[in-house]
């Protein structure tokens, strides 16, 4: 099978963007990616838009984005799998290219979330759980991940400080990322003192809702070499799996079965193992989610996630896989449709060696781990720079 390469990447500023509409946010990332690739719009064959529709007043978001990017009459469609929508868009672009239907496809992840009140967002996100038997009890998105955290702490002796160490790390790197919502370091004392949300979580265990967009342009192998030469980053493993909507029907609550399955697929397809991954972007919507990702992706043994962060192994130069060294969802912010594309953007920058202070030395293989909901969907993508 021929390969699919990333030939252009773009990113807008994540944050409370009361200055822009969703299509204007999309444009920032698209322009950045077009300039990065050196392509003209006439070189594109299609676009895939990632967004979660219910947060927008505008219905059918692909249409308004496609028009604003001046990409009519090219084909376009929307992908939606909650917070993993961005990676789903990348996967469908990969499929469109591998099928031979299209040669060059732009993937735009975009989301405007702050038009809604926080309580309404909590209510919407709580209904990413199963509404017939669970949401009637006022479940929330942090509440769901808190159910995992309680169980992980019970089974493996993971402490709340372990969880907050994830937040401290991600804010440390967010402080070095000009696109991040929070560009300030935090101390563990400050994190501990934040307001309770859903035990054991307090505010600093949770990522923040944000507005923003990111874009990657994918091309089939020969075109990719032609367009980007040595700067192509290859998308060699596209793993994807699902798990029950209901938390009640999961085999256990110390990991995401969709993540371990998606990882196994992606590693096998790319012909690599977890020990070869130098840098990873994982879905740290809540601190426990990053800790479980270390385990589900095989960066450490099951139950050792707490120790992994305690030993600072996911820091640059920490001796493990450098994880979320752009700030992650925690510090960068989580515009849910954009997040998966933002992860791919960051891994490509790392594999190109363009990350400056937070560059992971010798980064040649990286991955993204993008989770939808509470693991109902998970996409693991493996990237290589040669």
């Amino acid at each position: 099978m021929s390969r699919v390469g990333v030939v252009g990447i773009g990113h807008g500023r994540f944050g409370r963007r009361s200055d822009a509409t969703v299509q204007e946010l999309a444009f920032e990332a698209f322009r950045d990616a077009m300039e990065d690739s050196g392509l003209d719009r006439k070189n594109l064959d299609a676009s895939v838009i990632a967004a979660v529709p219910e947060y927008h007043k505008q219905r059918s978001i692909a249409g308004v984005v496609q028009e604003y990017l001046n990409l009519n009459p090219l084909p376009t469609w929307l992908t939606e799998v909650a917070c993993a929508s961005g990676s789903a868009a990348i996967r469908t672009a990969w499929m469109a290219i591998q099928s031979g239907l299209h040669d060059v496809v732009a993937v735009v992840g975009c989301q405007k979330m702050t038009e809604l009140e926080t309580a309404d967002i909590l209510a919407l996100m709580g209904r990413v759980g199963e509404v017939q038997w669970e949401s009637v009890f006022g479940t929330t998105f942090p509440g769901y991940y808190a159910l995992f955290a309680t169980r992980h702490m019970h089974d493996f002796g993971t402490s709340h400080d372990h969880l907050l160490q994830v937040a401290v790390k991600n804010h440390h790197y967010g402080a070095q990322n000009p696109n991040a919502l929070f560009q300030k370091e935090i101390t563990i004392e400050k994190a501990r003192a934040s307001d309770p949300v859903a035990s054991p979580f307090c505010v600093y265990d949770c990522c923040a809702n944000a507005d923003g967009a990111a874009c990657v342009i994918l091309a089939k192998e020969d075109k990719a070499r032609e367009i980007a030469g040595d700067r192509v980053v290859w998308l060699d493993g596209v793993g994807c799996a699902s798990a029950s909507m209901s938390v009640l029907r999961r085999p256990d609550l110390t990991g995401l079965p969709s993540a371990s399955e998606a990882a196994a697929q992606a590693y096998a397809q790319a012909g690599v193992g977890p020990d070869e991954i130098k840098v990873a972007e994982v879905h740290d919507c809540f601190t426990i989610a990053e800790l479980m990702a270390y385990e589900d992706l095989g960066f450490c043994e099951k139950g050792q996630g707490g120790l992994y962060i305690e030993e600072r192994r996911p820091y640059v130069g920490g001796g493990g896989v450098a994880v979320n060294v752009d700030g992650g969802l925690k510090a960068k912010g989580h515009p849910i449709g954009a997040t998966g594309v933002s992860m791919a953007y960051e891994i490509c920058r790392q594999l190109r060696g363009d990350c400056g202070e937070r560059q992971v030395p010798g980064a040649d293989i990286g991955l993204t781990h993008n989770v939808g909901g509470i693991g109902q969907y998970c996409f693991v993508h493996v990237f290589k720079n040669r």
Binding site: A119, D120, L122, A123, M125, G126, R127, V131, Q132, W133, E134, S135, V136, F137, G138, T139, T140, P142, G143, A146, L147, F148, A149, T150, R151, H154, D195, P196, V197, A198, S199, P200, F201, S246, V247, L248, R249, L253
Partner: protein, 149 residues
Amino acid sequence: MFGWFGRVSFVPFSKVQDFAVHLRNGHLMGTKCRACGFQTFPPRADCPECLSGDYEFVEYSGKGTVWTHTRIEAAPTGFESEVPYTCVVVELEEGGRLLAWSGDTLPDDEVEIDMEVQVVPQIFEDTPDIRVHYTVEKRGTTWHKAPGT
């Protein structure tokens, strides 16, 4: 009738809507496939194993153990007046699991993983229309609110 289930309901209709009627009468029901015998909680009308749509309700004892829990402090829309509340996931003795609030006999800070508990049907007393749910209580707690009392 399924709209009876929960203080805030998102699901007015379901093939297993009699679940709410049974609950109002003090009975916690799961379902069993009449074709292959597959039994489950929460109830479902359509068998995930053999695909049969022929099912019956079976009564559950409500006895179980705590699987996990969280105390919610930041409420979603519609639950502002309820916070804080503790969501408890119970593994039921007959198989399957449910999620519910800890009730009056089980203070939030006493909820622990693996503790033995009793799920008890409940009727909201402060709503004009019929609203039912269930709570997680200490073992030995019984249902005592007959309809209309």
